[in-house]
């Protein structure tokens, strides 16, 4: 008896197999974390860092809180 014919040319890989990333590093899912950089004077940096520490939050949390408040105030 003949073997059944192979009807497809290529089997799909396991779901867990990473892709070749041909679309580059700029193509990242929205949930990825990406750094953001701002430049301030040394004095302002110290002041901000100290204030965040006093409040018991990170610089990131402090800046994000400021962003949230600004959006609430100004809208958009």
């Amino acid at each position: 008896m003949k073997q059944p014919k192979n009807t497809i040319k290529l089997s799909p890989p396991p779901v867990s197999e990473p892709t070749l990333d041909v679309t580059g590093k700029g193509a990242r899912p929205d949930s990825d974390i990406k750094p953001i950089q701002i430049k301030v004077s040394v004095a302002r940096h110290k002041e901000m860092k100290a204030y965040a520490a006093e409040q018991g939050i990170s610089m990131t949390d402090m800046l994000l809180e400021g962003y949230r408040m600004l959006r609430e105030t100004r809208g958009g």
Partner: protein
């Protein structure tokens, strides 16, 4: 307003051919259509549109853009924008796919063509492009049997694939050389097959 894009993982996969044929088909059907060429180096679409105009064929609006976001800025002026991706997949492929209502990945039927195209499809979905927005087209197929096998492979990878295929035919190349679309050859059967592809895309975006 609808945005269709034609992208691929490698050159020669019939992206521009598909884009041009769709543009001609939709323009003929009364859609105000714009072809967006984002390949500054080759400018395949721009040159084809020029050849088309010189041949006295119905003109198709075409523009050359450096960036995808600039190309889609004109969307409100048209019923349909067709974006032809760059020769090989790179960062713009994601931008193009994200802006599109339908992403057409055209591929040849050989494993050499299918594998990178399917990998691109897999990558797009893993990076957040909904699977239902992607449709594959088997082009440059030397026979119906090869086309069917390629279609079955694409389906096995979980992607939608057009029933229509584009055969490898010298007359198609000659048509494109003369500024014509795939359904504007002197041969009825070839024209009908190309029109079937356009109509299938039409049905998908109107579903």
């Amino acid at each position: 307003m609808t945005i269709i894009s034609c992208i691929g993982q490698k050159g020669g996969g019939s992206k521009s051919t598909t884009a041009r044929t769709l543009a001609a088909g939709f323009t003929e059907a009364g859609w105000k259509t714009h072809l967006a060429d984002i390949d500054e180096k080759q400018q395949t679409l721009m040159k084809w549109c020029r050849r088309r105009e010189e041949a006295g064929l119905p003109a198709i609006e075409c523009g050359l853009y450096r960036r995808v976001d600039t190309a889609v800025k004109v969307k409100e002026q048209y019923h349909l924008i067709i974006i032809d991706g760059r020769p090989a997949a790179e960062t713009t492929s994601m931008d193009v796919a994200a802006e599109s209502d339908l992403v057409i990945v055209s591929t040849g039927p050989t494993i050499d063509d299918l594998e990178p195209s399917l990998e691109l499809g897999r990558e797009l979905t893993m990076k957040g492009i909904p699977r239902e927005k992607i449709v594959f087209l088997v082009a440059k197929t030397p026979s119906a049997a090869e086309g069917k096998k390629a279609q079955a492979t694409i389906a096995a990878w979980g992607f939608r694939v057009l029933n229509a295929t584009v055969r490898f035919q010298p007359a198609y190349g000659q048509a494109l050389d003369g500024g014509r679309a795939l359904f504007e050859t002197p041969f009825k059967t070839l024209n009908d097959e190309a029109r079937a592809m356009v109509e299938e895309i039409h049905d998908i975006i109107n579903a």
